[in-house]
């Protein structure tokens, strides 16, 4: 009789700690997402300044400025993780084009404001990429905990579901060393 009680107690303790583990993991994923969000917003804030600075030297590259501004607007209105990922990856591509064009204007390249923005944007790209990496690590850890036995029992009972990954398009799967400089 006592043995049955002890076994029940052990199972209860395990169940509680497992539930808490799932809760903790889920919140870490949400927190990691918030981190990405912070960096994305920072990037959105830096871009108008960059566009203005480049316009000062290369006013006729209008099409490019349009593309950047449009991509930025799309990214800012994205709702789900998937949408945000896609929109921001597109935005990165337009920024790369913008910096590539800037290479043709030596006076622009020497402009202190431009250099500062370049460093800030490169840093922000890195931070986004690392935040994304960390988010994916957390999302993976959470998913594994949900799927593994015996924690999948608790996960099933309390309906824990995995979070989406922040996907990286095939062409971009490289180490994080974004540099807009040659």
């Amino acid at each position: 009789m006592i043995i049955a009680v002890i076994i029940l107690a052990v199972i209860l303790v395990w169940a509680i700690s497992n539930y808490n583990l799932l809760v903790s993991r889920k919140n870490r994923v949400k927190n990691a997402w918030a981190q990405i969000d912070v960096q994305l917003k920072r990037r959105y804030d830096l871009i108008p300044n960059l566009v203005e600075t480049v316009k000062g030297y290369a006013a006729h590259e209008r099409e490019l400025f349009e593309k950047v501004t449009q991509a930025r607007a799309t990214a800012m209105t994205a709702k789900t993780v998937g949408q945000t990922a896609q929109a921001n990856n597109a935005l990165t591509e337009t920024l790369k084009s913008l910096f590539a064009v800037a290479e043709n204007y030596p006076t622009l390249k020497a402009n202190e404001n431009f250099l500062r923005l370049q460093e800030e944007l490169a840093a922000t790209e890195n931070k986004i990429a690392f935040a994304r990496q960390f988010y994916n690590d957390e999302a993976m850890g959470y998913k594994i905990t949900i799927e593994k036995f015996p924690s999948n029992i608790i996960a099933g009972i309390f309906r824990f579901i995995p979070e989406d990954f922040y996907s990286i398009p095939e062409g971009e799967k490289e180490p994080v060393k974004v540099s807009f400089q040659k």
């Binding site: 981190q35 460093e119 840093a123 931070k127 990496q133 960390f134 957390e138 180490p175 994080v176 060393k177």
Partner: protein
């Protein structure tokens, strides 16, 4: 067969725990011999033991202030060192830890260290020499290595090693002093041969112990350096930045101005320069640069 980062990190962690385990065995053996050879005075040993523990704990809590003061580090202002701050922030995002405080050391020798008792109370310091020598990628590699020390709680680990080491040496000193003043208990005479064996073992341990302690501490330090390399590379998913930085460090031939034995193990490279390197490599707190670069290159991500 190439090793993955996970394998390397696991292997290092096991090695470290093995060394600590060996440490504790020695501590236990010395303590056991002493308590059995001298039946009185355990109270005294306990008191001294407690003193060593508290002394080291206080050191641990102030480790960052001390390390910074000693190396004459100054806070690095964000508008003077924007790239450095950006790099530190990037790596702390990748590591999922709060951003450490950033300090700068006015020294042409390239070096960096991390200190602080846990990720929330941590600091990273770099020298002017490091900033001028490394490009952004290499700097990122170095910072990732230092951040890994923080994340792996290496300061705590080295403090524990120092406590255990201190206790072992303490026992040796007390034992030798007791021998000198000839304090044998009645029980010992009754034990006869057994007592003599204890004494011989005790003397042998007393001589070897401090050397062993130092060797083990150095070995732990080296393993944690390898671990920090592997962890840093994993953090960035990219070992080449750090490998390149280490290669550049290898080509530098100078000495750090404010180095000492006490803080040497915190630095990324031996702050005493290449010539001070080891009676034999066993005493070095850092593994040889070539080996570190080689291990990084062999990693599979």
């Amino acid at each position: 067969m190439k090793q993955t980062l996970y394998d390397l990190i696991n292997k290092n962690k096991w090695r470290t725990f093995f060394f600590i385990f060996a440490f504790s065995i020695i501590l236990g053996a010395v303590g056991y011999v002493l308590v059995n050879v001298f039946r009185w005075g355990t109270g005294g040993y306990v008191l001294f033991g407690l003193f060593i523990i508290f002394y080291n704990i206080i050191l641990y809590y102030n480790s960052d202030k001390m390390a910074l003061a000693f190396s004459k580090a100054q806070p690095a202002l964000i508008n003077e060192y924007p790239q450095l701050h950006n790099v530190v922030e990037e790596v702390s995002i990748a590591a999922g830890v709060p951003k450490p405080k950033v300090y700068i050391i006015n020294d042409p020798m390239p070096n960096a260290f991390a200190t602080g008792r846990n990720p929330k109370n941590s600091t990273i310091a770099v020298t002017q020499g490091l900033l001028s020598m490394m490009n952004r990628e290499e700097l990122q590699g170095v910072i990732a290595h230092e951040m890994s020390h923080i994340k792996n709680y290496d300061i705590l680990l080295m403090t524990i090693a120092a406590i255990i080491g201190g206790l072992i040496v303490l026992f040796r000193d007390l034992f030798l002093r007791s021998l000198w003043f000839g304090g044998r208990s009645r029980d010992n005479d009754r034990k006869g041969n057994a007592g003599a064996i204890f004494v011989i073992v005790g003397i042998a341990l007393a001589i070897i112990a401090p050397i062993l302690v130092f060797l083990i501490r150095a070995a732990i330090s080296r393993e944690r350096e390898y671990l920090a390399d592997a962890s840093g590379a994993y953090l960035l998913r990219y070992p080449d930045g750090l490998a390149s930085a280490l290669a550049k460090l290898g080509r530098y031939n100078g000495k750090l101005r404010n180095a000492s034995d006490a803080t040497a193990h915190l630095f990324i490279a031996n702050p005493f320069g290449k010539d001070r390197m080891s009676v034999s490599n066993l005493f070095a707190t850092h593994p040889p640069l070539e080996k570190r670069i080689q291990r990084l290159k062999e990693l599979e991500i």
